[in-house]
Amino acid sequence: MTSPAKDLRAGAVSDLLRDPLFVRGARSMLLDYCGLGRCGRTLFICDPCVKPVCLAVEKIAAAEDIATKRVSAFLDWDHIRTQLEDGFTSAIIFQFAASLHTQPFIEFLTRREHSFHAYRLFGSSAETVRQGFRRRRSALRARNWGLIQTARRAGCLRVESDCGTHLRVGLDSGASWSNSYGEFADGYPGVFPPAEVNTRSLDVDGVLVADGAIGSNIGWPLDVRLADLPITLRIVQGKVVDADCRHRLTRDLLWEFLRKPHCSEVAEIGIGTNDGISEFVPSDILLNERYAGFHLGIGSTLSKRLDRSLHLDFMLADCRMWMGRHLAFHKRKFVLPQIAKIPDRIGFPVNVRLHDAL
């Protein structure tokens, strides 16, 4: 397994272009997920640390007759806005970690929603492009709606795993959901890589043994994979009351996080739905959250503001999920009732947003 950092160092553009998995992933992102074609022009806004990936995608776009131009994400917003207004109809932001120009970009999109579409590729490593787009968007979209519908009907979720997870989550029928499969909607960029659904609940009790990966929006500083050093959380009424890990530094950092105000509260009940992702990657990037299975987020997510949103995610490598009596996930496969018609947000009595990160 190549780490994304090594990917970036060694990832000369020509190497990426010779990699069939990368090329297939990039084509899927551009054509299926972004719906790009010969009409229109796309601006690539690129964090310099992921430039090789961006350059390779640019060349793959050119081979598909998609007109693109690349600018640095480190330019000031006025410069980028001037570029965007120069006849571009779409944009893709390639970022590795930090979100740049979030607020002004959303304001721009709100004004131009009907004539412009935009996407943000979090953790733009070669691995994200290779693994993140193996499934068709329509399939993940249908799966996500099916999960939300099944979960809301059931009103409760039970998660178990062979390594000791037994968690019960009460799902409030009035709670909002996120259905993130990379759609540009409501003036927010489509979030890549796809896909997951999530909601919030404080009715959470039990034990969670995270043996997949840990992730954080402040950047987890160690190898995020937990297969050899799982983290055990004991949760009572939506609060983490105990946390343990054999690795001392992991345990120390975890407790430093938990001691911050509101940071021991469960903030997210998440289900990664992308079964095209075959393994967790060592860097703290969004790809791990999309891995098919259960994840639980804790933290002080009080608003969309970066300065009030500390978040930590715990991903399970494998688990069984019941929604009511229905076994919805088992052996990394989703088992969902067939939906005659893919529902839309209009059919839901609660708000369902199509993005989950900014």
């Binding site: 950092a5 970022q95 970690a97 930090a98 979100s99 979030t102 979090f122 409030d172 009035g174 709670a175 909002s176 996120s178 927010y188 999530n198 909601t199 919030r200 404080l202 954080s216 929006n217 402040i218 950047g219 987890w220 500083p221 160690l222 009424q237 939506g238 530094l249 950092l253 430093e256 996080f257 911050k260 509260e265 903030a267 997210e268 987020g297 933290g299 002080s300 997510t301 009080l302 608003s303 969309k304 503001r305 970066l306 300065d307 009030r308 949103s309 500390l310 978040h311 708000n351 947003r353 993005h355 989950d356 990160a357 900014l358």
Partner: protein, 89 residues
């Protein structure tokens, strides 16, 4: 390439100053626990026949401050065990 020590220091600094690299956008939740006065407990006891020392309101919304939906959680205190009367012989 940052060393692990530097990364750990960066994590702690971000934690300290409360600054994230990117924002999670999920609905907001507030939990407010109200300790009830003896008079309020008495009112609830009449209605529920239970002793309720505190009332936790879970408020959730897409926007802040949460004002869309509230779920009340009643913390029920176990009633004191009544002394069983010994039968007079």
């Amino acid at each position: 390439m940052k060393t692990e020590v530097k990364k750990v220091a960066e994590f702690r600094r971000r934690l300290d100053v409360n600054i994230a690299i990117w924002a999670i956008d999920i609905p907001a939740i507030r939990r407010i626990t109200l300790e009830l006065t003896p008079e309020q407990q008495q009112v609830l006891k009449r209605a529920t026949r239970q002793v309720v020392p505190s009332l936790t309101l879970v408020l959730q919304s897409n926007e802040l401050p949460p004002n869309g939906h509230a779920l009340a959680c009643l913390q029920i205190q176990a009633p004191p065990k009544s002394k069983s009367r010994s039968k007079k012989e």
